[in-house]
């Protein structure tokens, strides 16, 4: 949809003669055409994003419990009550939210870092042409192309304690441990979660960085090797600075996606999610749907939104200032 709307205004410039005649004949349509073509996108954006968001914000200010979900309009005004409950860290609900927030921050930082490092390594390794390069590139994209549910569900099978292939390899084949570790409950759950999320995400980093690498002129590298710069030096002094604009966007997007990841914990853990894997979106889902308290859930969502907006704002501010200085 967005492609069509971008192209539409550009077209008159491409074929001036044709459009001019059209405009003379039907002046009204010509002026309104861009808006008309934008309308579906705007309408859907309103319907799918803006209105639900506003409803969510409204929900966070009312006491929307099971007593009112059949008739939302009857829900009493709660003022800041839901927010007070959510940030009262001495209370069970606030404490749970704070813990979940901590888990999510750790999860996001580690996952983004791992995804970026893996993506970068693979992109650089596949930069020089060799036989079968496109095959390997395609292979790397499989996790990204696979439906999230199918992929994560497979991980769920692999990580089972008694029947999973992970324990089969670690314990039965390699004999690294005499005890069969649990991967989906207890503290190992966070490791599993990070592994699965990284598996899912790193190929996006790979794809983006690979595209970025194409735009770096080869002669820069050739000149550098003539000057005697090694691979690491070339990477640090040519690749990294050239990829800076790509990295700025990539890291931000990876962080936002990871922080608000819902599918991974939802599919990986099902209804038996462990505290160590209690990511914030899943926590909010449980707070809303298990206890039927949509007001508190919405308040938590709004807090999450505000947090992500602040982080994004600071990130853009800091990186923007640094690029101006550079």
């Amino acid at each position: 949809m967005s492609v069509a709307t971008h192209e539409a205004p550009a077209e008159p410039a491409a074929k001036p003669g044709n459009t001019k005649r059209g405009l003379e004949r039907r002046p009204g349509l010509g002026r309104w055409l861009p808006y008309l073509l934008l309308a579906p996108a705007v309408l859907l954006e309103l319907l799918i994003h803006i209105i639900p968001m506003l409803v969510g914000i409204w929900m966070s200010f009312v006491k929307l419990t099971k007593f009112y979900i059949a008739n939302w309009s009857a829900a009493p005004w709660a003022g800041l009550g839901n927010y007070k409950v959510a940030v009262d860290f001495d209370n069970a609900i606030g404490e749970g939210l704070l813990k979940s927030f901590g888990v999510t921050v750790a999860f996001s930082l580690i996952t983004v870092a791992l995804s970026w490092v893996l993506g970068m390594a693979a992109a650089v390794a596949l930069q020089p042409p060799f036989r079968g390069r496109s095959f390997v590139r395609t292979l790397f994209l499989v996790p990204y192309a696979l439906p999230a549910y199918a992929g994560i569900l497979t991980w769920n099978f692999m990580l089972q304690r008694d029947t999973g292939i992970v324990n089969h390899i670690l314990v039965d084949n390699l004999g690294l441990s005499t005890d069969r570790p649990f991967w989906l409950i207890g503290s190992n759950a966070l490791i599993s979660l990070i592994t699965v999320a990284t598996w899912k995400l790193w190929t996006f980093a790979f794809l983006t960085l690979m595209a970025g690498l194409q735009s770096i002129p080869r002669d820069l590298y050739e000149a550098a090797s003539v000057d005697g710069a090694g691979n690491l030096r070339q990477w640090r002094n040519i690749t990294l600075p050239s990829l800076r604009p790509v990295n700025l966007v990539l890291v931000l997007v990876l962080f936002l996606w990871t922080f608000s990841d819902f599918n991974t914990p939802y599919v990986l853990f099902g209804t038996a999610q462990p505290p160590a894997g209690d990511l914030i979106t899943f926590h909010i889902y449980n707070a809303s749907f298990l206890t039927w308290n949509f007001g508190t859930g919405a308040a938590m969502s709004v807090l999450l939104l505000i947090f992500l907006m602040i982080v994004t704002g600071i990130y853009l501010l800091v990186t923007g200032r640094r690029s101006r200085r550079a």
Binding site: A4, A8, E11, N18, T19, G22, L37, T65, K66, F67, I69, A70, N71, W72, V85, N91, A92, I93, E95, G96, Q160, R161, D162, R180, F182, L184, I185, G186, S187, N188, G270, T271, A272, P274, P275, N286, F289, L290, T291, W292, N293, T296
Partner: protein, 439 residues
Amino acid sequence: MRLRSLVAAAAVSALGISLAACGGSDSGDSSGGSGGDTTLTYWASNQGTSLDNDKQVLTPVLEKFTQETGIKVNLEVIGWNDLQTRIQTAITSGQAPDVVNIGNTWAASLQATDAFLPFDGDAMTAIGGKEKFVPTALATGGKEGTDPTSVPLYGLAYGMYYNKAMFAAAGLQPPKTWEEMVAAAKKLTNPAKNQYGMALAAGSYTENVHFAFINAAQNGAAWFDADGKPTFTGDGNVQGVLRYLDLMQKDKVANPSNAQYDNGTKSVNDFATKKVAMIINQNNADSSIAANGMKSSEYGVVAFPAPQGSADQTASHVAGINLSIFKNTKNKDAALKFVKYMTDATTQSTLGKPFASLPVLKDAKPVFTDNAEEAAIFSDIYNTKSKPLPLVPAEDQYESTVGKAMNSMFAKIATGGTVTAEDVKAALKTAEDQVAASS
């Protein structure tokens, strides 16, 4: 330009068609009402061995209903992991089926949403009168002293299944007290051979919370006071929960892997494939046991035993499935006819066997098993040793908070940690705070 406008026109008309299609179902509903063209939407829960199995069992029953009344029934079978959320979404959006299965423990919570048709005098008469139901089963239909918003459909109760051959080989008698049960389980446990006395669905919060309820009831403890306020941290509650956790922690008669059993079927399968000698499960385990090839003569059932000297011999909650009608249905009369049909003696005895359910009708005989002894024991548990779960609006929150707390404690035990009475109390306090905050 021309091509683009053509494409746009095609897209717009396609959108229009799909919108019209969305509206179509609505107009279809409203055209019903009293004519011969009424179609009811029915959400059934998963009772058989699979969703497909449910569909196969129900389809001829529903066809018979259509033949008798001319009312068509549009069936959808929904798994337990989704059912509550689907009902919730239906309530919230108003886009609901006409008739729906609910876990009877949700009855009071769902009643509080005001989205369901109360079975008042007239509605109750239309479905055949309240006298036809077993009183304890009907009592699960809603809050005490109100018109119920659901009526019983399938009755279930917990029983302790034991493998006769394994008991005989170890020279054991079926246990009559908790202590005898643990002693028997210990004798049948040999971790070195990966052999355990019992299997527990220790990762299923719904199963866990039922045992929290039953064990606390045996201690004489309740989870809510007369005003519907949570009383989770009483000594009887804490000790009841700990007693159940200790099956894995102190007594070590259950495989730590059980902490990942997130539904009852997994422990039933361990029993049916003779990996364990005992399970405590509802009688619908029979269909899974049979599906695994174990005969009903190979196992015995006793009531889930209370500790020695316990004044309260509660062995189960009044488990089962209820039927509810959405208040905003456009086919109220047809829906009432359907509920009457599903709860009449013939339909009940048709469905009792494949779904392994206990009769919810007063004079009906259990048909879920060909083992007369088993039938008699389950009927006795259901009729005399069962208590309904708390009939308060916050019941659903009790299930999720206490059940999930138990999941976490089992996980801690399984991964080598220790759970003390103080830990249980702290976890139940957290659950209590969560319930108090949202009621």
